[in-house]
Amino acid sequence: MIIPEETDMKSFNTHSAAKNITSTAMVSLTTRLMVSFFMILFAVLPAFAQQIAIKGELVHTSAGAPITNGVVLISDGIIEQVGSQSSLRIPSAYEVHEAAVVTPGFIDAHSVVGLAGIYNVDSDQDQLELSSALQPELRAFDAYNAREELIKVLRDRGITTVHTGHGPGAVISGQTMIVKTTGTTVGEALIDSTTALAMTIGSGVRSNFDSPGTRSKAIAMLRQQLISAQEYMDGDEDRSRDLGKEALAQLLNGEIFAVITAHRSYDIMTALRLQEEFGFKLLLDGAAEAYMVMDEIKEAGVPVTIHPTMMRLGGDGENASFETAGKLSDAGITVLFQSGYEGYVPKTRVVHFEAAIAVANGMDYNQAMNALTIDAARVLGIDNQTGSLERGKQADVVLFNGDPFEYTTTADRVIIGGQVVSEGE
């Protein structure tokens, strides 16, 4: 599921590797474009290469206790050293930045940004395809608009990594991916091309499709697809290709996971039941009534991308509570924050605003900070490269002028891969 940068393009190609000549030619063209892009990028990088020292009155590393009067040294886009200002000497060549609070770049653990555009008109809404309720073959990176305004909105506020793609509303709406909130093309932004299949269980699906018209029909359709995919995996090598079944096979192989949006307690239980039957990796999403089935979620060992704390109440999510993130977290369940999908205004939410309300309603502060950083990186499988301020990781760092959860605090600088990509809102 997770592919380091050089092999990332291979994954692009594996997914699109077609057997006929025309497609192969297109693939090689894509490969060439990508390869040449990266050659240019790496050729140019040394010119940008900077040595940066970030001094923070408080440095949240997400790798141990916060450091008072800490410093982060960055060289060539990578974190070199992290420690206290008294123990770490800042070499003279380093450009020094100062901030009240320094954190790892925040990770939005589930979004539709880049697919669901700011205008909210048909032509910029690509998070949900309505021609069929089950479309595992839809790739997120084929629809990602890297120049979308809302990506800048998130970046300016301190979000550096987003798990985004197809949204809720279909039994299987399509695939998701992980991007950095930078770059002008999907190739530049991408850090994982295929992360999960987005699924929804609940009453919301039926309003989008003629069928399924009930919950039980939706689950029957989903199980049938997964069983067909199992048979497909066991089939002959020379069978004709089926893009949907290939994606489901990746899920069943454990290469990617399922993000299942379910709010009602009984829909959450259905998600857990499916997970048990088919053994796929599950990220439970939304989960407004998770507090009713906490033991079951904990026993299943499933992480939860909790609904935006400030989610509007209504529909399957009418029983949402400001306290759920804190309750789940206290119970030992891994909780991550998401911007989710918004059908009206505001068009996207901001994960640390949501975390702030969770903390104000009982969630442990450091736990919330970890949820936005290292916990999200671990669940998404990118903790080898981001999610904490540790030697060897990519320098995704945010400089805040105060407590990042306070309404009045802004990000003064956002750094991705060692580059200052934003001077704030």
Binding site: I118, Y119, R312, N319, F322, Y344, P346, F405, Y407
Partner: protein, 443 residues
């Protein structure tokens, strides 16, 4: 019917007095004194270690511990370490499950949302938990005129009459008139709805011209009932608007729509409040010059509709810099009444002064409803509507602890039955929040 009344009214009267007396004795007979809090009166300087005295549902004194004499028979409540500020005033909300005009017309000045409010809606509890004590409940923005708005206190009541706040008792005014321009009130189906902005303005001008003619007939009758034109609820309402008794609350987002709203108000001379004003920063000077106040909203991100792609946290600061009068609103459910204080925090985030942020949640909103003589600040003689906070109003970690209206405690976070409305959970709001607006009826 008469029999029914005569049979039951004595019993009801007895019941009323038995039930009401204990409450009244708390709120009316004996003064209540709050001591030790930091008091933000909004219209005066902040007071540390202040004293607030309330009696008969009104504020009888507010000031520093040394300057306020505590009445001998008073009940004293120690709120040391807490912050007291006026109950929040929200000039634009959709709580209460009410509705407005239908598809039969784009213009419904005769429609009253007050006839449709559910006084026991738990959305009022949600507002109380966020410290909101007075609210302008509006019909939607899917019409050029969707109906009359209503000014209410969020206090517990069984009837809408008990919740009303009159801006003009003599003329029986307890609300404004909702208008809208821009895309929400434009529909593609043709008449009676406008299909363009220019048609929208023309329809509004036409109806006000008719109202002027109606007024001429009324004036010509000079009190003679035989000469009066036949009663027309639409015209009567618009006459109140033309006479400055009823304020127009005009939904408007785009910079040019804002100027159109100003142009029409100038032409007909009615009193206008601009609502939402997403692109207000671009015409801040024009708004300031017009003298019309702006009731604005903070959204976490821009977008979701064409007209809101340029909204940012800066609008309030830009209006402040231009010298325009402005306030915040929730537009609940667009933003959550439980988090109204957050809007002020975001104003400060973008450079607004703290004082203006405080006013924008209280007195500035009261002015937009002609209610500033009653609510919006802590001053002697005003309604005893206030909130007790456990910290700075603009910190995310601060929670409203208590909400008082007319000298009565309406919400108390320490009571689990009250607190649940502040956080949500199982069956707290079930079924009552399905009024999220679609695009045609939208906000």
């Amino acid at each position: 019917m008469n029999n029914y009344c005569s049979l039951y009214s004595p019993l009801l009267l007895v019941l009323f007095f038995t039930l009401a007396l204990p409450v009244q004795s708390e709120a009316q007979d004996r003064p209540i004194v709050f001591t030790g809090a930091d008091i933000i009166s909004v219209t005066g300087d902040p007071i540390s270690n202040g004293v607030l005295v309330i009696q008969d549902g009104k504020i009888s004194a507010v000031g520093s511990a040394s300057s306020v004499a505590i009445p001998r028979n008073a009940q004293t409540i120690d709120v040391a370490g807490q912050v007291i500020m006026p109950g929040l005033v929200d000039s634009h909300s959709h709580i209460g499950e009410g509705d407005g005009g239908d598809r039969s017309s784009a213009l419904h000045p005769d429609v009253r949302i007050m006839d449709t409010i559910n006084p026991t809606s738990d959305s009022f509890k949600r507002a109380l938990s966020g410290g909101i004590t007075t609210v302008n409940i509006m019909p939607g923005s899917g019409h050029l005129m969707s109906g009359q708005t209503v000014y209410v206190k969020t206090k517990e009541a069984n009837t809408i009459e008990d919740m009303l706040v009159y801006s003009d008792e003599e003329n029986n005014i307890y609300g404004g008139l909702k208008m809208a321009n821009g895309t929400n009130s434009i529909r593609s189906g043709g008449s009676p709805f406008p299909g363009t902005r220019a048609r929208s303005a023309a329809l509004v001008r036409n109806v006000y011209i008719k109202a002027r003619e109606y007024r001429s007939k009324v004036e010509a009758a000079d009190g003679n009932p035989d000469e009066m034109p036949s009663r027309d609820l639409q015209m009567e309402t618009l006459l109140e608007v033309l006479d400055g008794k009823r304020i127009v609350h005009n939904h408007t987002h785009r910079h040019d729509d804002i100027l159109t709203a100003i142009r029409l108000a100038d032409e007909f001379g009615y009193r206008l409040v601009l609502h939402h004003v997403s692109e207000g920063g671009e015409v801040a000077n024009e708004i300031a010059e017009s003298g019309y106040p702006a009731s604005i909203i903070v959204l976490d991100s821009p977008g979701g509709k064409h007209e809101a792609v340029n909204i940012d946290y800066e609008v309030g600061r830009e209006l402040e810099e231009a010298g325009a009068d402005f306030a915040y609103h929730t537009d609940d459910p667009i933003t959550d009444s439980r988090l109204f204080l957050r809007s002020g925090g975001f104003g400060i985030r973008a450079g607004m002064s703290r004082q203006k942020a405080l006013e924008a949640l209280t007195i500035a909103n009261a002015r937009m409803m002609d209610l500033d003589h009653r609510v919006g600040s802590l001053e002697e003689g005003k309604d005893a509507d206030f909130i007790i906070l456990n910290g700075d109003p603009f910190s995310v970690y601060t929670q409203v602890q208590q909400t008082w209206i007319d000298g009565r405690k309406e919400w108390d976070r320490s009571d689990p039955e009250d607190k649940k409305y502040g956080v949500g959970g199982e069956d707290v709001f079930s079924g009552s929040n399905n009024h999220v607006h679609d695009h045609s009826g939208g906000n």
